[in-house]
Amino acid sequence: MPSVRAMQSVVEFDNVGLRYGTGSETLTDLTFKLYPGSFYFLTGASGAGKTSLLKLLYLAHRPSRGAIQMFGEDAVTLPRDRLPGFRRRIGVVFQDFRLVEHLSTFDNIALPLRISGIQEKDIKGPVTEMLNWIGLAERAEARPATLSGGEQQRVAIARAVIGRPEVLVADEPTGNVDPEMAKRLLQLFAALNKLGTTIVVATHDIHLLQEIEGSQMMRLDKGRLSDPTGSLKNPPKPLILKS
């Protein structure tokens, strides 16, 4: 993607490390760039640091060392009162969904729009459309506790994409849905990606790479990007997929 390479990166990590408390580093020497409109799969074994890296991407943590540039600004020293503005540009699908228990399906999906101060008259249409798209229009008033794991996951994804974020970060977004729904959700991601959203999907299932044309793979191994330059510069090779 030479045209993408010429663009300014939306996220840039430079020698980033993350340590929880006084333990050893969970993430070590991460250096990479994410470009607008690109689609990345983040893979690696359990405990490799995928979720920690995603937390850095959605600004839930600050790194212990190194520099992170997001949307052209230093995200490490970003004042706390500017974080909300940055976070509104990032959509997140949490591994454990993190739906708000007392809110209905409709209200959970509408949450990012309401937080951003969108008028109520402009919320119903997009949320209803999204409910139809994920096949949960009938369950608009249902509380998360009454939804199945797969349904909750779809609500979590709908909530993450409803605000058309510039960066979408998803932690195992297809882990609890059947293959058909997984395909539909990936199509949703792809559609969003075509509109310019940079997407990072953490997954164990490297076969998903086949579903998204032009997607790239970032592989984490014990907190390090195993091929921090090669894997990001080139589209995934069939060889990687076979592994």
């Binding site: 839930a60 909300p84 503005g85 976070r87 509104r88 997140v92 007392h102 949450l111 309401r114 937080i115």
Partner: protein, 298 residues
């Protein structure tokens, strides 16, 4: 800040509708009840001190100490006539000799007074303004021209210890009010911290989606305001009922002992403002507690 009370419906739903804490409205009701009673006591005391003090501060007694009874009576009448035409003197009341003897008889015995002790002649005068040193000096000078042995006693002089007592009681009432407000603020802080823990997950999700500390604070302060308003109104109604019952008992006890010990009309307005003040305080504390707690997380 008070405008945040009127949050749009969809924002209210971000944390569950209902009270911040089950017992919070009742804690605030008790605090408001005690605050209203303490404030009412303070207002009654202040009113009594103001009314009694103002009346007594205008009272002056002239003593004519003349051994010759005929001269004493003549001087008393002359002084009384002079005072009646004096500017600034609104009332002149010579005290009959019989009344003076009656007042002294419990200490000296009536037989002794009549036979051996000459009692002074007294004139009670009321000024149009509280007596001050210069007014008293000028008045004394005029009186002594007619009655050289005359002496002036301002009631304010013996009122001083009473005023000091009143001031001490008022300070004590003010201290109690402050302690009650402090206790209310602390209760609100504890309740809000507990509510924050309960809703931590929701607040974190809101944060990750770009919610601001202020958005979260507004949710909690609105709920606290509702609790405080409910508790405040209940506490105010109960305290008002007690004050009303006490005022009936005061009236029945007679007014001579409790002159001025009544609630001034503006007192009820001040008392009615207490629930609103408690609500405002609760909202402010809730807002500050939430913002301060959220600053500790990214």
């Amino acid at each position: 800040m008070l405008l945040d009370f009127a949050l749009p419906d969809h924002e209210r739903k971000l944390i569950p509708e209902g009270r911040v804490s089950g017992s919070m409205p009742w804690v605030i009701a008790i605090m408001t009840f005690l605050t209203v009673l303490a404030a009412a006591a303070g207002l009654v005391l202040a009113n009594a001190a103001l009314q009694g003090g103002a009346d007594l501060a205008r009272q002056v007694t002239v003593q004519i100490i003349e051994p010759d009874p005929a001269a004493r009576t003549a001087q008393r009448d002359t002084v009384a006539n002079m005072l009646r035409s004096e500017a600034g003197v609104t009332e002149v009341a010579p005290v009959p000799d019989a009344r003076v003897r009656e007042l002294l008889s419990p200490w000296l015995g009536s037989d002794v007074i009549d036979a051996e002790i000459p009692v002074p002649s007294l004139i009670d005068i009321t000024l149009d303004e509280p007596a001050n040193e210069s007014v008293l000096t000028a008045l004394a000078a005029k009186i002594r021209k007619l009655a050289p042995s005359a002496k002036l006693d301002s009631q304010a002089s013996w009122m001083a210890p009473f005023s000091n007592l009143m001031n001490s009681l008022l300070l004590l009432t003010g201290g109690i009010l402050l302690l009650l407000l402090l206790a209310t603020a602390t209760s609100v802080m504890i309740a809000i911290r507990s509510a924050l823990n309960t809703h931590r997950e929701t607040i974190e999700i809101m944060h990750m989606m770009g919610g601001t500390d202020l958005q979260a604070a507004r949710l909690f302060q609105r709920r606290m305001a509702l609790d405080a308003l409910f508790g405040g109104v209940v506490g105010f109604i109960l305290a008002s009922a007690i004050i009303w019952l006490l005022s009936l008992q005061f009236s029945a006890a007679g007014t001579s002992l409790l002159t001025g010990a009544s609630m001034p009309w503006y007192g009820w307005i001040i008392l009615a403002l207490i629930p609103l003040a408690v609500m405002g305080l609760a909202m402010l504390i809730a807002r500050r507690t939430v913002i301060s707690a959220l600053k500790k997380i990214l």
